[in-house]
């Protein structure tokens, strides 16, 4: 396999052999290692010295299931630190199938506001990928739903697409990298941290892959790989959360709305309460029942990417049975719903679709709208007002650019003191004052406020991997540390993080993940050694952040969470600085 380096200064490309130290890495482990090694920590994230790195997981592109993940890395314009965001898409499988272990985008065009695309195919005669640049001017300034079909029309139905929307072109701190879903929608995002702006800053609009004729991903020990795959699949097909017609397949991720509301940890109206009185109207159960009513039949969810067993992506339909949006994820539903005081699923779905159309991260968009509502730009609960503000972001008006800068920046401009962000990144859908462990993850993660970095919600709320009292601070630093290290490995493996629900409860599933990786790579990893490897990845990310100027003072939650008790439990975030510092101090 190769590293493909694309230089946007002169639109050149070269293939390099994979250096030995990177051979056993993939996904986040590889993007973070390359960024830590090659990007100057003090560079401007939107300047020529930042790099944008794409790497699929170790097992991605093999027959492994629920494993079509690609990581995207770089220095984040939102946090000023290292960033890894990942997504599920056929694109993730096609990149390593073409023999490309990592795609590194470097440099910057001298021409202002010009955009190009890259088309990568398999050159059978040469036995290597063929890379061609094309002018992408005709696709810029446009709704992604309008231009995606044109890309398919030009390059064929079998392609996969990565790109950025107008949010990336405007270089917003809130801008994701979009990938196609199974129905060619621009709906799967490596959303967090403004990596769309890094892509935009390099004048890169699309990376189009066509894997036809490509050799695929080599597997060193096929028997071991198959043994691991079977164990993993058995776990996924057995566990109540991940099995067909289980919790995720039936209700989607938005099933969490009700349980977080019951726990008093559903951030509402810009993190001013832990309960939303209209929660049940926007929850996963309401989506399932609403679709049933509007379509006249039950609708179970679909896969976001090829080979997924869990299949948690939903679709929301209007009164006439026409699709409004796919997918209304928990985070999006919360961010654009409860956090804005909006209890109307049709409006929420429309906002999700607009974020997808403009290239915005739904979490950052909703957290920013919450701050804007706090500032009185529009009132809480004003769905048409919120929709209009998203359009302003899409159009690049002055207000749109302020909001597009993200939660932290917009809050500062608008004079808001209650800004739910860490390292400038807006908080996701769990209230740290009601769920202490996730607050520790938000505070200390190398990514800024990020629930996926160490999902302690599993034991604190869901009863997965044991049960822990969400309101207690006891033992939570160690819990967050363990989850952060394990997660760094799962993000490296190529599996979707949702396999964790099954493999944290079913030991053979965890073994299966390790065996799949050993089978592909020929390594001898154990359950313990992969957690250690996850820890090493975190240390690299942490070192980059320290060199970029992020200190312990940045590993703190905003002041209001320590001083303003949150209803209904009327708790503050009472984790000591010593405990927060121990997360990485004792890694």
């Amino acid at each position: 396999m190769w590293f493909l380096r694309v230089n946007m200064t002169d639109r050149s490309a070269k293939l390099e052999g994979v250096p030995a130290q990177y051979k056993n890495l993939g996904g986040r482990g590889l993007t973070s290692s390359l960024v830590a090694e090659e990007v100057p920590p003090l560079c401007h994230p939107l300047g020529p010295n930042n790099k944008l790195v794409f790497a699929s997981g170790i097992i991605t592109g093999t027959p492994a299931n629920t494993a079509a993940r690609v990581s995207v890395g770089g220095k984040s314009p939102l946090t000023g630190g290292i960033k890894e965001a990942n997504a599920g898409s056929s694109w993730a499988q096609d990149l390593p199938s073409l023999g490309i272990k990592a795609l590194v985008v470097e440099g910057q065009p001298k021409e202002k506001d010009k955009f190009w695309g890259i088309h990568i195919t398999w050159d059978a005669a040469a036995g290597k990928p063929k890379i061609e640049f094309f002018d992408a001017a005709e696709y810029t300034g446009a709704n992604l739903y309008a231009v995606f079909p044109k890309v398919y029309e030009r390059f064929g139905e079998k392609i996969s697409i990565a790109g950025c929307g107008v949010a990336g072109e405007f270089k917003y701190g809130n801008s994701g990298i979009v990938f196609n879903d199974m129905s060619k929608r621009p709906s799967r995002y490596a959303g967090r941290g403004g990596l769309g702006a890094v892509m935009g800053s390099k004048g890169l609009k699309w990376i189009v892959l066509n894997e036809k004729g490509s050799p695929g991903v080599p597997i060193v020990d096929k028997a071991l790989f198959e043994q691991g795959r079977k164990k993993m699949n058995d776990a996924l097909r057995t566990h109540d959360i991940t099995k067909p017609k289980g919790g995720l397949n039936t209700y989607g991720t938005a099933v969490l709305i009700n349980i977080m509301n019951e726990a008093g940890g559903l951030p509402t109206r810009n993190f001013s309460s832990g309960r939303f009185e209209q929660a049940a109207q926007i929850a996963g159960e309401a989506i399932f029942e609403g679709n049933k009513k509007r379509l006249g039949q039950e609708l179970y969810n679909h896969a976001c990417s090829p080979g997924c067993i869990i299949q948690c992506s939903n679709t929301w339909h209007d009164e006439q049975g026409k699709e409004i949006s796919s997918c209304v994820e928990y985070e999006s539903d919360w961010a654009l719903g409860a956090n804005c005081g909006i209890g109307d699923l049709d409006a929420i779905a429309e906002m999700v679709d607009l974020c997808n159309a403009y290239g915005l991260d739904t979490i950052e968009a909703g957290a920013t709208l919450g701050v804007a509502m706090e500032a009185g730009v529009v009132p809480f609960g004003d769905a048409p007002g919120a929709i209009n503000l998203i359009h302003e972001m899409g159009k690049g008006t002055p207000m749109g650019r302020i909001l597009g800068a993200g939660t932290g920046a917009a809050g500062l401009v608008l004079g808001v003191t209650r800004i739910p962000a860490v390292k400038g990144q807006g908080m996701p859908a769990y209230e740290p004052r009601a769920v202490k462990g996730i607050g520790i993850t938000y505070a200390t993660s190398t990514m800024g406020a990020d629930h996926t970095a160490g999902y302690t919600i599993a034991p604190e709320i869901l009863g997965v991997s044991g049960k822990q009292d969400p309101l207690s601070p006891e033992g939570k630093a160690a819990l967050s540390r363990a989850f952060q290290a394990t997660t760094a490995f799962i993000d490296t493996s190529g599996h979707c993080l949702f396999i964790a629900f099954a493999i944290l409860d079913i030991a053979s599933g965890f073994e299966g993940m390790v065996e799949e990786c050993n089978g592909v790579l020929g390594t001898n990893w154990t359950n313990d050694s992969i957690v250690k490897l996850g820890g090493e990845i975190l240390k690299k990310e942490r070192a980059f952040n320290e060199a970029a100027g992020l200190t312990k003072a940045h590993d703190r939650l905003p002041e209001f969470m320590q001083t303003q008790p949150l209803p209904p439990h009327n708790q503050v975030f009472d984790i000591s600085d010593t405990a927060l510092d121990s997360v990485y101090g004792e890694l």
Binding site: G247, T250, Y251
Partner: protein, 85 residues
Amino acid sequence: MSVRELMIVRVRLFANLVQYRPGAKAGQPFDVELAAGSTLAELIAHLQLPRVQVKVIFVNGIGVSQDYVIQPGDEVGFFSPIGGG
């Protein structure tokens, strides 16, 4: 022989558990009358919910186990196994 006093409990069902109460909607509360001093396990039996499907229980927003002794006026939420993120 003493007669146990009765009490009212407010209940909400979520996710897969809704199907065990005809006409119920997720999150829509209903009141149940049962003997004072009953446990959640007894309430689960009274509601004819499959016990293994009751994964998470909140009483007044606090997570509890099935041996919790219900107090008058408690608000109970029952969840089948769910996850997301």
